[in-house]
């Protein structure tokens, strides 16, 4: 899932200066799961900002709203009555959500309440770890199901580097060395042979480096004629 964490209150209140009608919009999918933008987090953020507003006389009028999934136009459209009369929206969804709200309500300023971080999974309650770098050309079949692009600090394909010691990455003691894990995974899979052959340079075209990506599933795309025939909001 997409993992994000809240910006510091200081930064958020800095952004909110000069605004009066504020709507905090949370999201019920990924950011709720990583405890960044769910309904409770929206409530906590609302209370904290109301405290700041009364303590420092900011005069903010803060309202809370939830969206099922803030990256879907249909659901963000349901925010319309709540957004009427507000001059800014503090989105506690991931970056995608904030951008969707801004695209649908061009005259209302949308402020990012979260720093969207990565695609990962909860390791245990409260700890979320990056697992996938979205490089567009998966190599898990060569690395025993452990992604070196996302989980090796240097995205090496013929790791480990010289700095891996005690199973930890040189970058930080609590980051396991991906290649150490790859080695042990392939060992238990009995496929250490995969590490013999040097892997040639990777094409980064399908990755973010190739420019913003656009995935098209032709059989679900409505043709121009279908759109004309269907009409309505969709």
């Amino acid at each position: 899932m997409i993992i994000g964490e809240q910006k510091r209150l200081e930064e958020i209140s800095g952004m909110l200066d000069g605004h009066r009608g504020i709507l905090i919009a949370g999201c019920r999918s990924c950011v709720a799961i990583c405890l960044a933008g769910g309904e409770k987090e929206v409530a906590v953020m609302a209370e904290s900002l109301r405290l700041i507003s009364s303590l420092r006389g900011k005069g903010w009028e803060i309202e809370e709203a939830m969206v099922e999934r803030q990256c879907e136009k249909e659901w963000v459209a349901e925010l319309r009555p709540r957004i009427e009369g507000k001059d800014c929206v503090l989105s506690l969804a991931c970056g995608v959500g904030a951008q969707t709200v801004q695209a649908m309500y061009p005259r209302v300023r949308v402020l990012p309440g979260l720093n969207t971080s990565n695609m990962g999974a909860p390791e245990e309650s409260g700890i979320f770890v990056e697992k996938c770098g979205g490089c567009g050309d998966c190599v898990l079949h060569l690395t025993g199901g452990i992604c070196p692009i996302a989980r090796c600090a240097k995205s090496l394909l013929n790791g480990p580097c010289g700095g891996s010691q005690g199973g930890k990455c040189e970058v930080s003691p609590d980051t396991p060395c991906a290649w150490e894990e790859i080695y042990h995974s392939l060992e238990s899979l009995g496929r250490l042979d995969l590490l013999e052959e040097p892997i040639p340079p990777k094409s980064w075209l399908p990755a973010r480096d190739g420019g913003p990506r656009r995935i098209v599933r032709k059989e679900a795309v409505l043709t121009e004629e279908q759109k004309r025939l269907k009409g309505g909001k969709a």
């Binding site: 032709k218 059989e219 679900a220 795309v221 043709t223 004629e225 279908q226 025939l229 269907k230």
Partner: protein
């Protein structure tokens, strides 16, 4: 004996089939027709599963574009056929064994035409290799 399976929209083409019957328009018995509410009802899995069940050729018969009783079910059907053809090519069975035909309710002769067309394709491409193995 060839096995050609046709998924047939019951509105337009379904009417054409009955009209073909009324007019005694002969077509090869290899063509077996399954009636579905609309060409858009059939999804890629049905088309591929038919080949796994031994069909030599599969046909999706929908109404003419712009004449769909369910607004644009036939365009949805066309998209599924294109996707399935792509997969059949990649798989090696050949997308030629799958085709979409458009038949209006007053074109009974098209049923015989499409049956003949698919029969000739099966002759050219040979029977479904899966069926032969069994």
């Amino acid at each position: 004996m060839m096995r050609i399976l046709a998924f047939c929209c019951e509105r337009g083409p379904g009417e054409a089939i009955d009209l073909a019957g009324e007019k005694r328009m002969r077509y090869p018995a290899d063509l077996t027709l399954i009636q579905v509410p609309c060409a858009g009802r059939v999804d890629v899995a049905h088309l591929l599963k038919a080949f796994r069940e031994g069909a030599d050729a599969v046909v999706l018969v929908g109404c003419l574009e712009g004449n769909c009783h369910h607004i644009y079910g036939n365009i949805e059907g066309r998209k599924k056929v294109d996707r399935a053809k792509q997969i059949l090519d990649e798989v090696g069975l050949g997308g030629q064994r799958l085709e979409m035909f458009h038949v209006a309710s007053n074109q009974p002769f098209r049923i015989a035409e499409l049956a003949a067309e698919m029969a000739s394709r099966v002759e050219r491409l040979g029977p479904n290799p899966l069926a032969v193995k069994e």
